[in-house]
């Protein structure tokens, strides 16, 4: 090769390298730009809620009932209590049924059988169904229809329970699957029955994952608005539900009602209620993390 050709090749190489560097820089710019944008959007979201809502956050807000005539004395007590009750109801329903189903699918079911595969596919599909469709189910089956409970607290709890049940099952299954087979084999070898193995060895070992998963699913349930809207949660009730058969509301519904009010004072109360909801969720996530650390098993 002549000197000129070598020089030409070298130049080509340098230009190619430059182009590569330019491309890398361009990509870096895009990447950081995109992340910056997303970050900015989320900061704006939480920031605006905080700025509008924090001034209204007071003990009075937590203990007063919503007011129609006087925004300054309006509070979210019925919504907070409703949310707490709904969480408890959903948990009572979802924890036994969810764990039982997960246990069956992981420990007892013959995975080659078609009906067990059907159940699995079914659960995957149910987890992807929009929450508003669960609201329709609740309206048709639980509020009206066969159960005919009316738009009461129990109906709300059952509807939300059905909504998160698939997620709880999936999470519980993963936790149970993570328990090493050696634990099971050891127990069985010592003469334990299937149920003894499951209840005394597998479940306690899977406890961390199950507890975390349940709490996270519950936090999803209490953030839902659409299903409660469809089944007829009350808007701005001035009382707490005193039983399963009472009308109820929840924080997302109250936020929804206040957001749409033309009076800007009520709109700001929506932000305050949002902060309360976020704090509750943060608390639940915190509890989940703490419990996971406590129960975590290292193999």
């Amino acid at each position: 090769m002549t000197g000129a050709q070598i020089a030409a090749n070298a130049l080509e190489g340098i230009r190619h390298g430059e182009r590569k560097r330019l491309a890398a820089q361009l990509f870096n710019g895009l990447m950081y730009g995109a992340i910056g944008l997303a970050f900015l959007a989320l900061v704006a979201l939480i920031g605006q809620t905080a700025v509008k809502g924090l001034p209204g956050l007071s003990l009075q807000f937590l203990t007063n009932f919503p007011s129609r005539i006087n925004p300054s004395t309006s509070g979210a007590q019925s919504a907070i209590v409703g949310t707490v009750y709904l969480t408890l109801l959903t948990a009572v329903f979802v924890i036994p049924v969810g764990i039982a189903t997960a246990l069956y699918l992981e420990e007892y079911a013959d995975k080659t059988r078609w009906w067990n595969r059907l159940i699995e596919v079914n659960i995957q599909n149910l987890a992807a169904v929009p929450s508003v469709v669960y609201g329709i189910l609740g309206l048709a089956f639980i509020v009206r229809g066969p159960l005919g409970l009316g738009p009461v607290l129990l109906a709300g709890g059952l509807t939300l329970g059905l909504l998160v049940l698939p997620v709880v099952i999936i999470v519980a299954r993963e936790s149970i699957r993570a328990v090493p087979p050696s634990i099971r084999d050891g127990a069985l070898a010592l003469g334990a029955t299937k149920w003894q193995t499951v209840s005394r060895q597998v479940l306690p070992s899977a406890r961390a994952g199950i507890v975390t998963g349940v709490i996270l699913s519950l936090s999803r349930a209490i953030g839902e608005t659409a299903p409660l809207l469809v089944i007829g949660a009350a808007s701005s009730p001035r009382f707490n539900p005193s039983g399963l058969n009472d009308a109820f509301t929840a924080l997302p519904i109250q936020i929804f009602t206040w957001t749409q009010d033309p009076n800007p004072q009520f709109v700001d109360q929506a932000a305050t209620a949002s902060i309360v909801l976020l704090l509750i969720l943060l608390g639940m996530n915190g509890i989940a993390i703490v419990l996971r650390h406590r129960y975590e098993q290292r193999w």
Partner: protein, 317 residues
């Protein structure tokens, strides 16, 4: 030591047999309870499908499926000859707004995932990942509030000066995108992390730069998981109700103009069911028909996702 008598032996044997059969009876009972629990999931699906189907079929007894699926006018609540049941505006609203959202969420989400997976220091990643998961679980009502009270007045009308209506599709679509970014980022990042380092190291060893490794090695290898993440994000956007209900308006339209109001399938259901229509009317049945349509769309997306994941999955030894 006194020898064991035969009666004692008999008694012990009988005890053992009884204990064993009691135990297996109990085991069987427990298994039965667990099976019942599992069947509840089947019962839920059956209930959903049955409820939706029953009212849908009743609806199609009065309104022809052709009119429903091809009609471009959705005015189910008006009376007489103004009443029209063409679902296309609702389908359009759903997919158009999802489209706007994905336009924002896919680039932001994927780029964020690539950054976290390939470029970020481990400490940054450990801090950001749980925040991402937290954000993915935030109640959507707060996004709706944000869209109506901030995005529409301050960003769209104020900063960008776009003459949008009070309830418009651009605001709802953009916030829908913001909603879905954490989901896409988180799941894609998981997919990329699970690509074995041996692939990366091999590429580095051949002299590839970080960008090349990220785009040419890791990204294609994780493609099945990434596509699953995208479809998951799309699915969430399609099913989302309150953001569109609050910020998108209650007027179905079939325009490409995002400054107008839109109504999606989900927001229609939530808006209508609150008006509390009496049972056994055509109007009541519309909730179920639209719900069934939405249910089928979601199932379809889920099915496509499973197929695509299966096809693109690369198996590592």
């Amino acid at each position: 030591m006194t020898p064991v008598t035969s009666t004692e032996r008999e008694r012990v044997r009988a005890d053992l047999v009884r204990a064993r059969s009691a135990r297996s009876a109990r085991e069987g009972l427990i298994k039965g309870i667990l099976v019942l629990a599992a069947l509840l999931s089947i019962a839920t699906t059956t209930a959903i499908v049955f409820t939706l189907l029953q009212q849908t079929l009743s609806f199609f007894g009065t309104v022809s499926p052709w009119d429903y699926f091809t009609g471009t006018k959705w005015t189910p609540l008006l009376a007489g000859d103004q009443q029209s049941f063409g679902v296309l505006p609702l389908l359009w609203g759903t997919f158009y707004l999802t489209g706007i959202g994905l336009l924002v969420a896919i680039p932001c989400g994927l780029l964020a995932a690539i950054y976290l997976s390939e470029f970020a220091k481990p400490r940054v990643r450990k801090a950001v990942k749980p925040i991402l998961e937290l954000l993915a679980g935030m109640p959507t009502i707060i996004f709706g509030y944000f869209a109506l009270t901030f995005v529409t007045p301050t960003i769209l009308r104020g900063l960008l000066g776009i003459p949008v209506k009070q309830f418009n599709g651009l605001s709802a679509g953009l916030v829908l995108g913001i909603l879905v970014i954490p989901t896409i980022a988180s799941v894609s990042e998981d997919a990329m992390r699970s690509v074995p380092s041996s692939l990366r190291e091999g590429a580095y060893g051949l002299g590839a730069g970080r960008l090349q490794v990220a785009l040419r090695v890791v990204f294609p290898a994780a493609l099945s998981g990434i596509v699953a993440a995208l479809i998951l994000g799309a699915s969430r956007a399609v099913g989302e109700t309150v953001i569109i209900l609050i910020a998108g308006g209650q007027e179905p339209s079939m325009t490409l103009n995002p400054t107008q109001s839109f109504q999606s399938m989900a927001s229609f259901i939530a808006a209508t069911a609150r008006g509390d229509i009496p049972q056994n009317t055509l109007k009541y049945e519309t909730i179920f028909v639209v719900g069934f349509t939405l249910f089928c769309v979601t199932l379809l997306l889920n099915g496509v996702s499973a197929k695509v994941v299966g096809r693109f999955r690369q198996v590592y030894e």
